[in-house]
């Protein structure tokens, strides 16, 4: 007679046949056969079986479950037995997940981030701080829950075993990835952050401050980065406000100087109102820099600005003559000075605003202080004086660096390159494109997006900024719109979720058989699309109130038409579901023995694979009227995850699993010697296929990068090759002791010390004299 049993934790408890019968009944009900009587009969059989095996010794819980399985089958309940087995294995998985979770939390709590690779999974979270650790604990808990309860067994297996990677898995049930924030629409009439209402800004300083707040607020509603697609167009409105105010101030001051008495605000109001009534607008800039010539070449916007300014000023002159009886010469001289001073002050304010913006984005916190917001800004195509003033000054502020001259990590700058706007020497913003090359050669930003590449040009409409492709941070691109073909725009949209496929594994498993590879690839695409749709279902069921800024403030396209308790399902469909991939180079090597950098034949094979994946996404989009797109995955955490598992499974395969990382998306391997031009031309065709986003880099040595001509020639090559988004890498080192920024080998070229070495007090004093522009010498004084 069985009287007691041994539980998993070793405790001995009384044997209770009722409990067993009730578990069996659940299994029977799950498959819709049998009743309580059957359950009792099976439970009785279980007891007899246990008695014959154990006598009076208490059995382990696992032994009881084995007996239940056997008895269910013996009684002919095969389906119920299967359901019971599945239930058991699922419970085991959850139990093991709990144990793993506790171990993970233990590691987060006690191990230094320098020793723990897991804590450096995302380099922008400081795993050593209290808030960073709390975020990582939350992440670990959410991942564990999501895997156990939200994935189907097939999806969970594929994710766990490294066939696929579900990005931002911790946020699986909570939110979506990213958005291009249209700041013009957001600022209009003011907005609320949830902690306070902000009025529509009235100066470039408040425009810039609010832009940073908008990024910060939206970052708390989503798990990815935040981007402003129209930084120049948006900030230009703030510049215009500032110029208008300063012009009036300067005019008042000049009048007071000349008349020797105070000018009442009322008479200024009257004078300005008269001018504005005639001209239809307030004073506007006619150039983007004091001392600069008015911008003459280029677009209508610029010519109009120059003419409007001339008209405005001459109207002010005639008012001054009428009001105060000045001669035409005196009034003319005065207005000229007013304009010059107002332009120069506005430029100075703009620089300070841009400097503040950059400092803000590098120091402000989001997500409970664990991270600086992951921010991007796109600019380059606004040719108005105001827009140009913004572009010039954001570049100059980035060039100057932070307080100790450090390179700014955020925002990511994306310069939009367009023929007729800034690409050719006769284009109105060509000077700013040149400036961007100089800054990027020193500070690694801006990156470049190319609006002339055919897959971007097809959407471009001159004078319509939302038709210009903009990029989100590391590479995300949202443009086409199968759900709503009239809204093929970059503004107010973003990615919903993305999952990447371990391509090299599919190749290894196919053992060189191309047909098998494509069959496996199709199965995997189907699995990923299903998983993305399952996740969409979770995301779609959430409400406007779950995204107080993103949806509540109307940042996301069409969310302004919803009320707080509405589901977000329909408007979310403007976003993209993206299928990503890693390791095309290793895939080709595994299948055919070479990668695409090595031969033209392999390049064709590579394009076939990626083209096949793109076709699948297009087909799925049409079928469901949703936006499935193909992503050249930004592999940070992922670069090591898949290959670690594949090494364990398949051992070291030369050219495939013999490194510590799989090659990023479709890149030619980083270690493979190839010229910049060949690399660009090899990778460009993949940009056309990866409509969810892509990036190509070229690595230059420090000296080449400093040569702006050489730098520009690489950017031009990217443009001509049809690259969508690209950047140029070069080493940027800094010695915190003497403030030197540039390439540092073993020895600092400025102060001559090696890493970790001290410089003498004497030498430090010399350096301070020689480089007074360096704010502090690492606080050594």
């Amino acid at each position: 007679m069985i009287q007691s049993i041994i539980k998993r934790d070793g405790r001995v408890v009384l044997y209770d046949e009722k409990k067993i019968a009730s578990a069996i009944l659940k299994a029977l009900e799950a498959v819709g056969c049998g009743n309580a009587q059957d359950a009792a009969a099976v439970a009785n059989g279980v007891q007899k079986r246990l008695e014959s095996l154990y006598g009076t010794n208490p059995p382990q819980i696992e032994a009881i479950q084995d007996a239940v399985e056997s008895e269910l089958m013996k009684h002919g309940f095969d389906e119920a037995a299967k359901a019971y087995i599945l239930y058991r294995s699922n419970r085991t998985r959850i139990r093991e997940a709990n144990t793993t979770l506790m171990k993970t939390i233990d590691e987060i709590t006690t191990v230094d981030a320098r020793e723990s690779d897991m804590k450096r999974d995302n380099a922008n979270i400081d795993g050593n701080t209290a808030m960073g650790s709390m975020l990582q604990i939350g992440t670990a808990g959410a991942k564990s829950y999501n895997e156990a309860y939200l994935l189907t067994p097939e999806q969970a297996k594929a994710y766990r075993e490294g066939d696929i990677h579900i990005h931002d898995f911790d946020f699986y049930s909570l939110t979506t990835t990213c958005t291009q924030i249209d700041i013009i629409r957001l600022f209009k009439g003011g907005f609320s952050t949830g902690h306070g209402y902000l009025r529509e800004p009235k100066s470039i300083q408040s425009y810039a401050a609010l832009a940073a707040i908008a990024i910060q607020s939206n970052q708390n509603d989503q798990h990815g980065g935040q981007s402003i697609p129209n930084f120049d167009y948006g900030m230009a409105l703030g510049v215009a406000c500032t110029f208008e105010r300063i012009y009036r101030e300067k005019l008042k001051e000049s009048l007071e100087d000349l008349t020797g008495s105070e000018v009442a605000d009322e008479s200024m109001d009257e004078l300005m109102a008269n001018v504005e009534a005639t001209c239809g607008a307030g004073p506007k800039l006619d150039r983007d820099m004091a001392g600069n010539k008015p911008i003459t070449p280029g677009g209508n916007a610029t010519r109009e600005a120059v003419e409007a300014a001339k008209k405005f000023d001459s109207e002010v002159v005639s008012q001054l003559m009428g009001f105060y009886g000045f001669s035409a010469q005196t009034a003319g001289k005065m207005v000229e000075t007013v304009r010059r001073r107002a332009t120069s002050r506005t430029a100075r304010d703009t620089y300070q605003a841009m400097e503040g913006f950059v400092h803000n984005l590098n120091t402000m916190h989001s997500r409970a202080g664990a991270q600086t917001p992951f921010s991007s800004i796109n600019y380059g195509t606004d040719t108005t004086p105001e827009g140009r003033m913004v572009i010039r000054n954001i570049l100059l502020a980035t060039d100057a660096g932070l307080g100790h001259g450090e390179t700014c990590i955020f925002p990511i700058h994306i310069f939009k390159v367009k023929e007729g706007v800034n690409y050719n020497p006769e284009d109105p913003n060509y000077d700013l494109f040149r400036l961007s090359c100089k800054v990027s050669a020193k500070r690694l930003f801006p990156n470049y997006t190319f609006l002339d590449s055919p897959f971007n040009l097809q959407y471009y409409k001159p004078g319509v900024p939302e038709s210009e492709v903009a990029t989100m941070g590391c590479r995300t691109r949202v443009m086409g719109n199968t759900y709503d073909p009239d809204r093929e725009i970059s503004f107010s949209r973003g990615n919903l979720s993305f999952t990447s496929i371990n391509l090299p594994r599919l190749a290894i498993e196919s053992k060189g058989d191309e047909a098998v590879f494509y069959q496996k690839l199709d199965e995997m695409l189907e699995l990923v699309a299903g998983q993305l749709l399952d996740r969409f279902e979770i995301q779609a069921k959430r409400h406007v109130y779950n995204y107080p800024f993103l949806m509540g403030q109307g940042v996301w396209l069409d969310s302004d038409k919803l009320s707080p308790y509405d589901e977000v399902r329909e408007v979310l469909k403007h976003g993209t579901l993206s299928i990503g991939f890693i390791g095309l180079a290793e895939t080709l090597t595994s299948l055919y023995g070479q990668h695409h950098g090595e031969s033209e034949a392999m390049q064709q094979k590579g394009l076939e694979i990626i083209g096949h994946m793109r076709e699948y996404c297009d087909k799925k989009s049409q079928e469901l009227k949703m936006n499935f797109s193909l992503l050249a995955t930004p592999a940070e955490g992922l670069s090591g995850r898949f290959i670690r598992m594949d090494k364990k499974r398949y051992g070291i395969i030369p050219g495939v699993t013999d490194k510590e990382y799989y090659t990023n998306s479709f890149h030619v391997p980083v270690w493979y010697p190839i010229s910049a031009y060949d690399k660009i031309w090899k990778e460009a065709p993949y940009h056309a296929l990866t409509n969810a986003g892509h990036i190509s880099y070229v690595e230059l040595d420090g000296d080449t990068a400093k040569n702006v001509e050489a730098f520009e020639s690489v950017v031009r090559c990217m443009h001509d090759a049809g690259i969508g988004y690209g950047s140029i890498n070069h080493p940027v080192d800094r010695d915190p002791v003497c403030g030197y920024v540039g390439v540092i080998g073993d020895v600092c070229p400025r102060c001559g010390r090696r890493a970790g070495e001290a410089v003498s007090e004497e030498r430090l004093q010399q350096l301070i004299k020689m480089y007074p522009e360096v704010a502090t010498f690492c606080g050594c004084r």
Binding site: A123, E406, V670, S675, E699, I744, A755
Partner: protein, 54 residues
């Protein structure tokens, strides 16, 4: 990136202060490489420069 005032005070003339090395990790930058994960560190180490000859 995070220069701690107290360590800087301790190191009067730079002793123990490393050089900062900023690299592009994917599309973005990260303040100094000590925060990179091991795989990305290995990848960065293996990167070769691309010449400008055609």
């Amino acid at each position: 990136m995070t220069e701690m005032k107290n360590t800087l005070n301790a190191a009067k003339t730079g002793e123990g202060i490393e050089f900062e090395r900023i690299r592009r990790i994917t599309g973005y930058l990260v303040g100094t490489m000590d925060k990179w994960n091991n795989a990305k560190k290995a990848e960065e180490r293996d990167r070769v420069k691309h010449g400008l000859s055609r």
